[in-house]
Structures are given as structure tokens and as C-alpha cells.
């Protein structure tokens, strides 16, 4: 059983993948760094000469730095699609500021008398730059490159969200799967890379004057060599490109199941859920691992492939609540249960569509829906207690959390507050166990496979029957964690493989088994 596997075993098992990811990570870091040096250093030099450009250029590079990394990657997708290019451009933009700023500062801080002497001796501008300013600015310039390197090693983990590879695949896969070994297998090498490169550059930075001119030549060569690492792991070839979330990649009811049960060996890239549907729509990807009730299935005209060999377990949504909270406030469960039976798959897809695609506020969508169901009551503004509702970063989660808030506010004297946007199953569940939230909507399949990490025999005996799965997780959660599953709401948000409708019909693909013919 995987949960009892040691970290060392995991690393050994995944050593091929770990090496590939590490090389990709180094490659991503240094390709972008190389470009940042090639552009940043000349820009830094330019603004020491054209003083009026200094403020706008440094300001612009500074603004780049303040954009949250995941948002910057998001901005890149419409421009450059998915894969290495947007990742490299985003990393390059991050690396730019420290390099420009330190080149500028380094040159500015060269003793004015020394520069005066060099000009007075009859050096041309170029000679002054190469013989005096750059060598003397080198320690400061290297400090900038050092900062940029460490930033890049860190930000490069996010490249896994847009199918650019790197150690982020393990980190985000591990977070999504509640697999600590996997997180560490990504996080430890990433931290080591940061420490090693930082230390190596620190050595270069304190190099004696005598050898400073050597650095001028060695550094670019080193950058190019390290950059080329990215090209080493070669793509493996099928015609169809699949984009799977990090979570899907490591799950038995995900990529592992596809390989084992269906025998599929698709060319696979790892990608964030947030951009996967759009990438499929834009023909960057052909097959994606979506969720069946996602609003974007409708928005991007995708078609769900039939799971003819039944690897995807039932994923019925239900609120899971700490039992202590239920006992403290008996009126809570009836209020939450008002939602039972009101939402089926197509309604959920429709609601998600309004939130994900039409960009309506989840709170408003929730309110409209409850009103239409005659379930909406004005808030009582009670002060009996506070119920903290969590949700994962899915459309479902946001909407359900908002519905529960309205129900609690309207039918009880409790006051509800929402904590939406918990990064993944592990984060949401840990928050619940640690009493940071009182409830969040979870899926039966996730409970079985991810949280309980049930062994293969148990899974096989349950997986075909949604009722058995529900009963199993209900009992196990109550015993192990003191957390109660309330009755399922009604819709099944299961994993599904999906394709563009047009391509699927052109290739006559209806079922997952049909994909095999396309390998």
C-alpha cells in the first residue's frame, strides 16, 4: 500500500521521472536566466548612459516582479499558449528586475575617480565598459544573477501548471493527491537546487580580482550548458496530446488507471485545471482530464468520453462536517440537507457554466438558484455561533459553499462565513481536521481514494456502486476523524476524459477504449 511506502522507496521508484523533472527544472531556470542576462545586462548598461530611461525601465521591470507568478503564467497563455514558451517568458520577466537593477547599481557604484582616470587615460566607452566598469561591477551584477536564479528555481515549480514540466509536477501532484512523499520528492530537489546554485554563485561573487575577467567568459558558457538540460528529456510520440492535472496524473482512477485498465500510452503533459479546458478548445491539447459537471465542458463545446471500463469511481458531492459541530448545533444538519435532491449533473454544469464562463459571481448564482427553488430566506443575522464553510478551488465548491452560507444564515441563528479557494483536497481536509473550518463539500470518490487511500481490494469491491462507496466513506470518516458525511446532494462530478466535439466525431471516438486506436 502506497501510504506505507517509505520516501526512499518512492524516490527509487520514480527516479527516472525525478531525473527528468530535475533536468527540466534546471533547464527552465537557466534558459530564462540566460535570456534575462542577455537582455537585462545591456538594458542595465543602457540606463547608466541614458539616465532618463532609468526610472521607466526599472519601474516596468519592478511591476513585472509584483505580478503574482500564477497570474503572470495565466496572462501568458492567451499570448503563447501552453508549454515551455510561456513558462520561459514568465520566468524571464521575473529574473529581469534583479539583473537590470544590479547591473545599473553595480556600474553606478564604480568609484567615480577610477572612471575619470580611465577616461582621462584615453579609454573609449567600450574599453571603459569591458575593462573597468563591468569587472568592477561584477560582484554586484553576480548578486543580481544570484537573486534571479533563486527566484527562478522557486517560480519554475509553477511551470507544471502550464505543461512545461519541472519539479512542480511532483509538488502539485502530491498536494492534490495528499501524497507527502510525492510533495517532498519535488520540494526537496527544488530546495537543493536553490541552495546549490545560490552557493555556487556566491563563490563566483567573491572571486579575487585577478580572476574576475575569467568570470566574464565562463558565466555565459555555464548558462548555455545548463539551459540545454531542458532539451534532454525528449517527448514521446503519439498523435494525440493529452493534458492531465497533477492530481489526475498520480491517481489510480486517473492516468494510472488509464495505463493499466485501458492500456493507454498517450503523450501526456501536466497542466493546471484552470487552463486545461481552454487549451483543449484552442487545440493545444486533444484529450483532457476534466470533471463531468464543469461549466467549461459546455462553454468550449467538449464531449465527455464514455468510461466503458469503469475506472472512474462515483464522485457524489456531499457536505462533510465535523461531528462536534453537528452536535453543538443540531439545527445545522437540516439546514444543509435542504439542498439534497435539487441539483443533478446538468444543473450543476449549467451553474458552473455561469460562474466559470459567464463570470457571474458564485454568490449571486447561488442566490438565484435558491430563490428559484423557493429555498431562499432572508438572513436572520443570528449570533448563536459562527460556522466556517470551506471549499476547494473548483466552481462546484464556490457555488455550494455560497448556497450553504445562505441556508445557514436563513434557516438558523448561526452566522456562516466562507473560506473558499483552499488549494486542494489535502489542504481542505487538513483545515477541517485541524478545526480551521467546520465543513466543506467533498466527493465520495475523493474521500475513498485520496483521503482514506483505500487498498485495491476495498476499492475494487466498492467502486461500481455509488451507495456502497458512500456508506464506506461515511463509516470510515466517522471512526477515524469524527467527521460526518451528510446525504449526497445528487450530482456526480466524476472524472472524465473529454475532447473537442469536432475532433472526436472526426476520429470516431466515443469511448475511452477508442483512443487506443489513435496511439
Amino acid at each position: 500500500m502506497e501510504a506505507q511506502q517509505s520516501f526512499f522507496d518512492f524516490v527509487q521508484q520514480q527516479s527516472g521521472k525525478l531525473l527528468e523533472q530535475t533536468l527540466q527544472h534546471i533547464g527552465l531556470t537557466f534558459i530564462s536566466l540566460l535570456i534575462a542576462v542577455l537582455i537585462g545586462v545591456p538594458l542595465g548598461i543602457l540606463i547608466t548612459r541614458r539616465k532618463r530611461l532609468a526610472a521607466p525601465i526599472l519601474g516596468l521591470a519592478g511591476i513585472m516582479q509584483t505580478i503574482p507568478s500564477i497570474a503572470l503564467l495565466g496572462f501568458m497563455i492567451p499570448l503563447l499558449g501552453i508549454g515551455p514558451q510561456p513558462a520561459i517568458v514568465a520566468l524571464f520577466l521575473y529574473a529581469l528586475l534583479p539583473i537590470i537593477r544590479n547591473t545599473y547599481t553595480g556600474i553606478k557604484e564604480v568609484n567615480a575617480t577610477v572612471v575619470d582616470a580611465a577616461i582621462g587615460m584615453g579609454m573609449s566607452r567600450r574599453q571603459l565598459l569591458y575593462r573597468i566598469q563591468l569587472p568592477l561591477a561584477m560582484p554586484v551584477l553576480l548578486a543580481g544573477i544570484r537573486t534571479a536564479t533563486v527566484i527562478n528555481v522557486g517560480v519554475a515549480t509553477l511551470a507544471a501548471y502550464i505543461a512545461a514540466g519541472g519539479l512542480g509536477e511532483f509538488i502539485f501532484g502530491g498536494i492534490a493527491l495528499n501524497n507527502t512523499h510525492m510533495i517532498l520528492a519535488g520540494a526537496i530537489p527544488a530546495a537543493l537546487l536553490a541552495i546549490i546554485f545560490d552557493g555556487a554563485l556566491a563563490l563566483l561573487q567573491h572571486i579575487p580580482f585577478r580572476r574576475i575577467r575569467t568570470v566574464l567568459y565562463v558565466l555565459p558558457v555555464l548558462l548555455v550548458v545548463l539551459s540545454s538540460f531542458y532539451l534532454l528529456p525528449v517527448a514521446y510520440g503519439t498523435k494525440l496530446v493529452a493534458g492531465f492535472t497533477p492530481e489526475f496524473m498520480g491517481r489510480k482512477d486517473g492516468d494510472l488507471g488509464l495505463r493499466k485498465v485501458y492500456g493507454l500510452q498517450l503523450r501526456t503533459v501536466v497542466i493546471s485545471d484552470m487552463i486545461m479546458y481552454k487549451a483543449a478548445y484552442e487545440k493545444k491539447l486533444d484529450v483532457i482530464s476534466g470533471s463531468s459537471t464543469d461549466g467549461r465542458v459546455r462553454a468550449f463545446d467538449l464531449v465527455v468520453l464514455e468510461d466503458d471500463k469503469h475506472i472512474f469511481p462515483p464522485y457524489y458531492a456531499a457536505p462533510i462536517v465535523r461531528n462536534a459541530t453537528l452536535e453543538q448545533y443540531p439545527e445545522l444538519a437540516p439546514a444543509l440537507n435542504k439542498l439534497v435532491g435539487t441539483i443533478n449533473d446538468s444543473i450543476m454544469t449549467e451553474l458552473n457554466y455561469r460562474v466559470d464562463y459567464l463570470k457571474e459571481d458564485p454568490a449571486k448564482v447561488a442566490k438565484d438558484f435558491l430563490a428559484a427553488q423557493h429555498l431562499l430566506q432572508p438572513a436572520r443575522n443570528g449570533n448563536k455561533g459562527v460556522i466556517r464553510i470551506g471549499s476547494k478551488i473548483f466552481g462546484d465548491g464556490y457555488i455550494l459553499a455560497n448556497m450553504y452560507k445562505l441556508l445557514i444564515d436563513g434557516y438558523t441563528d448561526l452566522r456562516a462565513e466562507t473560506h473558499t479557494g483552499l488549494g486542494g483536497t489535502k489542504i481542505a481536509f487538513d483545515a477541517l481536521v485541524n478545526k480551521q473550518i467546520d465543513l466543506y463539500p467533498e466527493y465520495t470518490g475523493t474521500g475513498l481514494l485520496v483521503i482514506l487511500a483505500a487498498d485495491q481490494a476495498t476499492v475494487d469491491s466498492l467502486i461500481g456502486d455509488k451507495q456502497k462507496v458512500y456508506e464506506h466513506v461515511s463509516n470510515a470518516f466517522m471512526q477515524r476523524y469524527g467527521i460526518r458525511w451528510l446525504p449526497p446532494i445528487g450530482f456526480n462530478n466524476t472524472y472524465a476524459l473529454m475532447m473537442r466535439r469536432q475532433q472526436a466525431s472526426a476520429l470516431h471516438i466515443k469511448r475511452i477504449s477508442d483512443l487506443k486506436a489513435q496511439q
Partner: protein
Amino acid sequence: MIKLEHVYKYFSQNRPAVSDVSLEVQPGETLVLLGTSGSGKTTTLRMINRLVEPSEGNILVNGKRIQDQSPEDLRRGIGYVLQENGLFPHYTVAENIAVVPNLLGWDKTRITERVDVLMEKLHLPPAEYRQKYPRQLSGGQQQRVGLARALAADPPVLLMDEPFGALDPVTRASVRKEFRTLDELAHKTVIIVTHDVQEAFELGTRIGLMDDGKLQQIGAPAELLFRPANDFVTAFFRDQRLSLELKTLTLADIKPYLPPTADTDHYQPHVLPGSTSCWDALEETMHTEGAISVDFRTEVFTMDSRSLMTAITVYKQTALAHGSATKLF
């Protein structure tokens, strides 16, 4: 040869930093530009190697207008010494000295030989100092490397901006003395900028006193002392006037004004040459109980301190009364 013709420099619209400066310095001559800070002396110097571009007027170096050459070529032909020495911290002593020869494309052996010769002359034994870095040297040694660097390509013209200003008084005196006796300088056209009056009188064959961007007076040290062009010149030297006068005047200068001497037969054991300054002569009287003997080539005088002082006083009165007709040097 350096020549400035009606040179102006405006940094701002209304007030020139340098105003209508004309001067000429011949090979073998050392002109000291003297003045307080802000007087325009450094700007004047930096215009000669185009570190500052003149706003108006002509500057000629060795007969050629400086604007007609590229700044780099011009500067490679001019030695330049800075106050804070401006040595390149990442270059060794030898590399620092070799900068201009390298820029001029000399071959390696020629450069090595030249560097060694200069280091010997400036009392920096090459074997010991060639591979040292500037920060491993004392202030005086650094300044000597700075001087060697300026002299490396044997430029006909040497510009020095407060060359000894950053040194402590003792080191300054010794480096200055070394500088005066350096044979490398014998036929060079030298301009030194300083605010130190003693230094100006010690090093300058001529002194140009600047104030408010203008050249107030230019001439031999004695001229500025004894025939000041205006009140500013008089006031500038007031505090040190007596010592400057005594140091500037030689016994030969005041010979015509010495009272006729009664005794030309009894000489002091140590006879002073006519080129001795009055200052040194007076000092000598303290050791000889008042009397000194001076060899004026045609005759030998013996005199005491009182007759010496009388002669100096008469000299000064004559100089003032006769104005420019008086031959002072």
C-alpha cells in the same frame, strides 16, 4: 606646449565657471594653477584633455586644436594624474602603469621594460611591487604609481589635478621632492592644479592665480608676490607673505641692494652659492652668529642678517616703485 585662447566654460546660463582664460605653457615649464575651490582651476585643467568641453575659445596642445582630434587620441598623448590617484583596483601595479602603452598598442617587451624603468625611478622596486594590487600599497606609493601611469607612454604634456592633495603632510613633502627631481619631467609641459600655496611656490616655474573663473594673475612666483596685479592677489598671499618672499628671493636677486661691505677678506668656513634662497640664508645666520659668506661668482660677500633684511626691504620698495620695468627674475 599648451595654449589657451579666451576660453570660457558655462555650466549654467548666467555665470561662467571659467571666464576668458588665456595662457601658454612651454615645454620644460611647470605652470601651477592656484586658487580656492570653485575658482575654476580644475575645470580649466579638465578642458585641456576634453574631460570638460569648452564653451568658447581655443585650446591647443602641441600646436594642434584639441577639437580636431578624437578625445581618446588626445588623452593618450597627455599624462593625467588625479588627486585620489584613480588607480584601477582590479589591476596590478604593473598593469596600472601599462594602461596607456596598452591602449597605444605597444608590444609586450617594450611595455615591460618601460614599466620597470619607471618603477625604479619612482622607488618602487619592480620585483617587489609589480604584482601587488593598489590596496596593498601606502598612500604615497599609490600616488607614485599614479604618476608612473601618467608618464608611462612618455607624453609631452602632463596634467595633474591636486596630485598630492590626499597625502599626509610628511608623505606629501617627500613625494613632492621626488617629483621635482624626476628627470622624466625635464622637457615636459606640465600644468598642476592645487590650492596649496606652499606647493605652488615650490613646484611652479610660473603660477596662475585663479578666482571666480578668471585668471587673476599669471607669472613667475616673485612677480605675484612683489608685483601683484590686484587686491585679490595681495590678499591671497597675505598670511604667508614673509615666508613666501624669503623663500622666493635668492641672494643673487638682492645683491644690488646689499650695503657695501667692509670686510671681503674674512669668510665664513661655509660659503653659500648665490642661488640660495633668503630663507635658507637667514637660517644659516643662526648657526654662524650672524655672519654668512656668499659666492656671487665675481666676488664673495660676507654679510649679516641685518644687512640681508635691509637689502630685501629695498628690493621690495624698488619693485613696487618701478613697476613692470624692474627685472625681478
